[in-house]
Symmetry: C2
Subunit: 356 residues, 2 copies
Amino acid sequence: MSESAVRGLNRTGKSSLLAAGILASSAASANDDLLITARQIFNPIPSMAPAVKDNPITEEKVILGKTLFFDPRLSASQVISCNTCHNLGTGGVDAGPTSVGHRWQLGSRRAPTVYNAVFNVAQFWDGRAADLKAQASGPVQASIEMNATPARVLDTLNSMTGYVVMFGKAFPKDARPITFDNFAKAIEAFEATLITPGAPFDRYLKGDAYALSDQQKSGLKLFIDKGCASCHSGMNVGGQDYFPFGVVERPAASLLPSDDKGRFAVTKAPGDEYVFRSAPLRNVALRPPYFHSGQVWDLKQAVGVMSEVQLGVKLDDREKDDIVAFLNSLTGQLPKIDYPILPTRTDKTPKPSVDK
Amino acid sequence: MSESAVRGLNRTGKSSLLAAGILASSAASANDDLLITARQIFNPIPSMAPAVKDNPITEEKVILGKTLFFDPRLSASQVISCNTCHNLGTGGVDAGPTSVGHRWQLGSRRAPTVYNAVFNVAQFWDGRAADLKAQASGPVQASIEMNATPARVLDTLNSMTGYVVMFGKAFPKDARPITFDNFAKAIEAFEATLITPGAPFDRYLKGDAYALSDQQKSGLKLFIDKGCASCHSGMNVGGQDYFPFGVVERPAASLLPSDDKGRFAVTKAPGDEYVFRSAPLRNVALRPPYFHSGQVWDLKQAVGVMSEVQLGVKLDDREKDDIVAFLNSLTGQLPKIDYPILPTRTDKTPKPSVDK
């Protein structure tokens, strides 16, 4: 039964038990329809870390990866760690708009979250890294981020007994466990555990009809009906494919700077100009500012921008509030992290280099 | 019985049970003497956080303090937290030599460790803060460190429901729990828990004669006999009083830059030129580089410098090795820290300011 049909029933003024029964059952049916549709589009976050290609996840590898993730001595300055820009205490991102790197240089794009990143089709806003292993090897070398080199990373790791032991345990079959590839694999293994199951939306998808409020259900329906779910679907409610930013209308230059053509830089295909991986919306409420440019701090405003430039739809205030309520239902349970005690540096550990 | 007398006995060639008995008992007696002397000079780290003046330590206050300690959004750039320079994963300090702060400005002195800092006579290398509460209010405001203001800190804290709730629980009797003073008190409460009991030296002081190796005991004896313990004593093996750096001989300008007159800046007393709080040596092996200038990376070299410029003593290689072995016995058990999930920012949270 359609919404207008339900309204029609209401307008007849019938308040008999029969009418109430029809209403209740039609609402239940609408709810069932919504859940059936939602299940065709989205998947719940699993409670266990997923398997990762060519990189069996072991406890030893995860512990090593966590230690590396928090170790600032892997950067040239020895001030910046993975966690500096992908802070696990603030939704897996920094405060933005873009990240501060080596010598206070500013990045050009908002740091993507590491939480649930394992479920994305590829990594970075332009998908230039096929997986987390490939991603992990990037920022550590980028001159405006951590500004190290693979050789320096290996010198650093080889200089500390703690790392020599941990790599040996994490890669027991390797004759030389400390390699740049294994460094990236250990970080990937840790990041694969950074998943956030148990969001209200996950409980809803698993059949708990009361996990979402009526407003959140209305927001979910709008999210589907208006077309948001065309680009934001799957387990991460986004992150599963690439789309142009500005399908209907070009966003303001502050949101879409003309010099960043997105995926075009990766594929060189003319059709990929200003194309980006759709933003994964899991835990989106935890991590303003929004978009790759990080210029919108308010989630409701971000919803308004997206509906206009991507869908050509002008949402009213109530609709935006409902969608924001739905987006809030995507906040899951962040894993508990023991802050790692890092291996102690030795005389052989490269010295910090803050100046160049 | 003196060491030379024991050697004399050896030279007689007597290998009877009687001689062996005298040797064993004299060694035992020397060991007892060493322990008795050590107990007069040093104290073990307690297993529980000590009480702090005017700031009762509660679980709620410690949890709040930990959250603040790890929150980079308290700095103007929202990149730098207390933990950036006092990294709990690397002995409570950064990689040095001095700290990188707002806009990549470099500090002039090595970051002191927060571990066991509660046992120091006062805070900072020049003791300008009477306690951890006073210390905590400094770097957050320093323009070359976190570059915030008390007003900005309060705006930030008031903007987030998570902090409003946590301050209410930590300061239940206060009509307005969120104040700059309470912010500092919460950090002090957390830092008072950052103690590292259970070092081999602590077990030794408590009566376990086997907690130190023979080399470590030799190092302890040298540390006392040569005069190191005159300045490095008490619970923190240092940090208990102020002394000139360069008692006998002026250290190299790289170690003692002439423009940093230490405690003189605090007291303006001519006798306080180049006077500093003696370095607390707990966990010293975890945290090179050494001295307030952070220019010596090797602990053995640091021991050599100190013996020459402070005591006028040239230690031989074996003596330095033994003292380093003793210093290694000062490494305690670092507390387990759950990395905090930080309160989520809101539209009212001040935006990051990286440029000014």
